[in-house]
């Protein structure tokens, strides 16, 4: 369980997260939505300890994460734009991450799932964006962590890979894991998410289920519901 209290973060003069309170129970798939620059990635990075808070606190399973690192053993994180060392081959990268972090169990299963066999001996610098994203998926899901954080996981994926990813996420959820996803693809959200956190200008604008946001905005599809909210703020 994650409890975020009064989280405040600014970069220079720009306030990115403005005193956010959020509680994430172990409740399946939570999606973080919001326009560009609304603080989605920053929120995720705060959770992982990559961004240091200005004030407020985050507790992970009743432990304050400030300055800690071993709680990350329970989190798998997939970054938004994955850049890996250009000189390394795919297989070397996978081995290396396995070596740095024990507990990888199903890398070979994932490699065949995303048809990465033929790329294993290629250098990461020579791969296309979509293939790199697949490698990113393998690196994230090969660990059996109870908590998974995905930052725009669908970027650059082809339709087949997208379906596989969706299946993978749902399978993980059924194992009782908590999955936090940030994305812009509404159909994806509508299909898989159990809860939504909608961020706007560093505040939580809405928190609840897909059904609730539709009801609140009186729209019958999520895309329109979100657009409806954004429209109000554009004016």
């Amino acid at each position: 369980m994650i409890i975020i209290q009064n989280l405040y973060k600014k970069f220079g003069k720009l306030t990115v997260l403005d005193r956010i309170d959020l509680k994430i129970n172990n409740q399946g798939i939570i999606t973080i939505l919001g326009p560009n620059g609304s603080g989605k990635t920053t929120l995720i990075k705060c959770l992982l300890g990559m961004v240091i808070l200005n004030s407020g606190s985050i507790t992970f399973n009743e432990m304050n994460i400030l300055g800690k690192w071993d709680y990350r053993k329970q989190i798998s994180y997939m970054p938004q734009i994955a850049m890996f060392p250009q000189n390394l081959k795919v297989i070397e990268l996978i081995k290396m991450i396995k070596n740095l972090r024990e507990g990888a169990i199903r890398d070979s299963e994932l490699i065949s799932m995303f048809k990465l066999e033929e790329f294993l001996d290629k250098k990461l610098g020579n791969l296309s964006g979509g293939t790199i994203q697949k490698v990113n998926i393998v690196l994230t899901f090969m660990f059996d962590s109870p908590f998974i954080v995905l930052d725009e996981p669908t970027t650059g994926l082809d339709p087949v890979a997208l379906i596989r990813l969706k299946e993978l996420i749902i399978k993980e959820k059924n194992k009782g894991k908590t999955i936090l996803i940030s994305t812009h693809i509404m159909s994806f959200v509508e299909e898989i998410s159990d809860g939504i956190v909608f961020l706007l200008d560093g505040n939580i604008y809405f928190e609840g289920t897909v059904a609730k946001i539709k009801e609140q905005t009186k729209q019958n599809n999520l895309e329109n519901a979100i657009a409806n909210i954004l429209q109000e703020t554009y004016d």
């Binding site: 300890g49 890996f84 060392p85």
Partner: protein
């Protein structure tokens, strides 16, 4: 930390730059030996090159390595690894790999030329030791600068400026001060001022080892009296170590507070 260090060294060894650096030293070594035709003389020439060039290459390489491996650093930061482990691992990886390039690149031509039969062997090894220390110092300074500047160009510019300051500007200022205050006894001041510049400190250390302190002119005697003793020698090595320890501590401090 050993794992990170191992991967950093491995990563650098696979990159082109450490080879280019080794080959550069290899060619340098051969050319110097060819031109001087004598190991002892070549060591003296080498001194001037090492004292200026290793800091420059350490600076450029340190900054470049930090910015280049930034994405990878982010990948590591999301893993259950302590922050200081990641940054210190990378720092030591870069420094060790550069020092290795230096030792191997220069070592081969000198060994082939008959270093082991020469009296200059001890001087040559002190020179390599100093080169390695300077590499560690300037990579640490460069890492500090890169950690403080998000913008690559600014970081790079500032790092070069720091090198320029220690390699040239510092001596210039010192010279002006000495000329202006010509009428006062300056030996103690000169001695003190040297301590605050790792490049000067290394240069004097080597010059005294090579027993050519007469080159140092009128303060030479004071230096000889201080650094010539074993106490002075230890003091100098200690000071060089402090030049490594403080920047490294700051890397640890800074890395704990930085956003990625």
């Amino acid at each position: 930390m050993i794992k990170i260090l191992k991967y950093s060294i491995y990563d650098l060894m696979r990159g082109r730059w450490s080879y280019i650096y080794s080959v550069f030293h290899l060619i340098l070594g051969y050319v110097l030996l060819f031109l001087n035709n004598d190991v002892s003389k070549a060591v003296i020439t080498l001194l001037n090159i090492i004292i200026v060039l290793t800091p420059l290459i350490g600076t450029i390489f340190g900054v470049m390595y930090y910015y280049n491996s930034r994405d990878f650093t982010e990948l590591l930061l999301a893993q259950p690894i302590k922050r200081t482990t990641i940054f210190l691992g990378q720092y030591f990886g870069a420094s060790i790999s550069l020092s290795l390039s230096l030792v191997i690149g220069l070592g081969i031509p000198f060994v082939v030329y008959g270093l082991f039969q020469s009296a200059a062997i001890f001087n040559f090894f002190s020179l390599l030791l100093i080169g390695a220390l300077l590499t560690f110092i300037f990579v640490a300074l460069a890492y500090n600068i890169a950690l403080s500047f998000e913008d690559k160009i600014k970081g790079f510019g500032f790092a070069i400026l720091v090198w320029l300051f220690f390699a040239i500007i510092y001596d210039g200022i010192l010279l002006i001060v000495m000329v202006v205050f010509n009428d006062y006894p300056l030996d103690k001041f000169a001695l003190g001022a040297t301590m605050f510049n790792p490049i000067d400190l290394s240069r004097i250390l080597i010059l005294l080892k090579l027993d050519i302190s007469a080159l140092l002119g009128y303060t030479g005697a004071v230096f000889q009296k201080f650094f010539g003793t074993s106490l002075g020698m230890f003091a100098a090595i200690g000071l060089l170590s402090i030049w490594i320890i403080f920047p490294v501590l700051r890397i640890a401090y800074k890395s704990k507070r930085k956003d990625f």
